[in-house]
């Protein structure tokens, strides 16, 4: 069976016309700067599952994970330098800073090492970046909202961690969506830091000053907190976009069972780490046509499929998806224009 899978993978590669080198002797390291929240834990789990199988199937020789002790940039820069010395062929990295690691990344590239960054990306041109299309996610939130609230109305926006590129991109997408659908109007905006408690407090504070709200557009990790704030204030329950967290989907299910509540959920899958791994593998495989900036889709759930996903998410966790080599090849293909 395993051999079949490998053969299948090879067939897929042949189909894309670029199977060149054998990567079974290659070693890929994962440099991670933080492991202290549920998203990062899920990210490490997904990566572990996918790479363990890849090593067993002899797709690559080794795929080791290295997490730094603190979130500091110099620690991770030193770690990258050590990985260079260790003789890895590729480094997959979730970086502590988009710019400040560029010195170390450049050293890795100069040593002939393939660097693939995701989530926390690096700007050094020689590295690859696996970026989730957050802007489209924001835009899609408004599109979905239009399905549930066809008459339009007032929206409340919950922003993420200020000053991050992710918050910026989702916000820009939401504004674009609202511009395209003038029946919606954002009447209030709060900062939720992707955290249920923070979001609940922020929404509770602004609610009394707002007109009637038909929908809440947010960034994930804040939907359940918003729902709690509306309930506590005795306000009618709006359509709240969810962010794939277990508590959010659980609340959604409860509401659906009660009165058929409808909404939509989307977030970046922590398993994007496994996609970055496959991208690194593909580059090692000799593919030279891979763009350095890869835009990959986010993970979304609809009214029909979220309940099937719910039992698979650990309590307090977030929905993930382990990407396969075929997924990676498809994602790369979608980015080659």
């Amino acid at each position: 069976m395993k051999r079949m899978l490998v053969l299948g993978a090879f067939a897929a590669m042949l189909a894309s016309g670029t199977a060149l080198a054998d990567t079974s002797g290659k070693k890929i390291a994962f440099s991670n700067n933080y492991a202290g929240n549920s998203w990062r834990q899920a990210m490490l789990d997904s990566y572990g599952i996918v790479t363990k199988k890849a090593v067993e199937d002899k797709v690559v020789a080794a795929a080791d994970i290295f997490t730094t002790a603190d979130k500091e940039v110099p620690t991770q820069a030193a770690q990258v330098q050590n990985l260079i010395l260790q003789g890895y062929d590729a480094i997959v990295i979730n970086a502590a800073s988009p710019d400040a690691l560029n010195g170390a990344i450049k050293q890795a590239c100069d040593a002939g090492i393939v660097v693939v960054s995701f989530d926390g990306i690096v700007t050094e041109p020689c590295a690859y970046r696996v970026v989730v299309d957050f802007k489209d996610m924001g835009k899609q939130e408004i599109e979905q909202m239009a399905k549930f609230q066809p008459k339009g109305g007032n929206l409340l926006e919950i922003r993420g961690l200020a000053g991050t590129s992710i918050d910026d991109a989702i916000h820009a997408g939401i504004l674009e969506g609202v511009a395209a659908r003038p029946e919606f109007k954002i009447v209030g905006s709060v900062t939720g830091d992707w955290d249920q408690t923070t979001a609940q407090k922020a929404v509770a504070t602004i609610l009394p000053s707002l007109p009637d709200i038909v929908g809440v557009v947010d960034q994930g990790g804040d939907g359940y907190g918003a729902a709690q704030a509306f309930a506590a204030a005795g306000k009618p329950r709006p359509t709240i976009i969810m962010g794939n967290r277990q508590d959010e989907l659980q609340w959604w299910k409860e509401q659906k069972d009660k009165d058929g509540y409808q909404t939509w959920s989307a977030s970046i899958a922590p398993g994007v780490s496994s996609l970055a791994f496959w991208v690194a593998q593909q580059v090692l495989d000799g593919r030279t046509d891979i763009p350095h900036d890869l835009l990959v889709p986010y993970l979304a759930f609809t009214q029909d499929d979220f309940e099937a996903e719910l039992p698979k998410i650990v309590k307090g966790g977030v929905a993930s998806h382990e990407y396969t080599q075929e997924d990676a090849i498809a994602a790369i293909k979608a980015n080659i224009k």
């Binding site: 490490l44 290295f66 940039v73 110099p74 030193a78 050590n82 710019d99 400040a100």
Partner: protein
Amino acid sequence: MLRSLLPALSLVLVLLAIAWLNPRAISYFGFSLMLNLAIPIALATIAQMFVIAGNELDLSIGTFVGFVGCVTATWLKDAPLIGVLILLGSIGVYALLGALIHLRNLPSIVVTLGMSFVWQGLAILVLPKPGGKAPDWLLSLMAFKPPLVPFPIIAALLIAAVVHFGLMRTSYGVILRGSGGNAAALERAGWSLLRTKIALFALTGFFGVLSGMALIGITTSADANIGNGYTLLSIAGVILGGGEFVGGRVSPIGAVLGALTLALAASPLLTFMHIPPDWQVAANGAILIIVLAARVLISRRER
């Protein structure tokens, strides 16, 4: 005797462990990579050593290094004159802090803890989001590849030699250490304790500036949080290098060796040991405790 040899001994031990785990690392290329981030740590440790020599502690050195880094990646590149003035001014602030701590008899821990937030805030003000670029001369200096001996080793030797000469071999160096060893005697002999404290803090600021610049020369670009880890690393480096929190007992050579040991023990050793990811963070702490405990054990046996 053993006590003064200890910093060198622990460095050799860590190096042996690395050589055993990854022979490839013991090479010109290997040392250049493993030790280049140790230069800013060594400079920050020297900075910390000066305040410790005066029985004080600087909890703001990490964020100060970050602030210097942000200035280096922005002003120092775009408007070198203003950049230099800002950096000189920040050394002046350090001198003033020394005066304030001495005159008002304030605990340095409280003052510098407060300052750590000030530096952090200023760093974010200078560079609200990661970026900037190091000046070209700094980049080429830090990427310098001398023949035979890797640059980080030459830099470490130079730092240790200069500070050792200044603090251990000159007469004012003796006065500076004396202000931590026996302040009352020094004062009775007619020396100004205010002036020694100002000098010690200014030297801390000066080496803090060097540390931040060296760091940005290596990373090429800055981040407001880039130096935060240096506060504790620098204190640990001084202690590992044979210094004491009180009594003006410090050793510049030991401090540099201590910084190198910490830099090597924390990162390369850990990476080469292939510890499962769940345990890596804890293992890092464990290595630090083992290295520091060994030093305490040996120096206690000496008494």
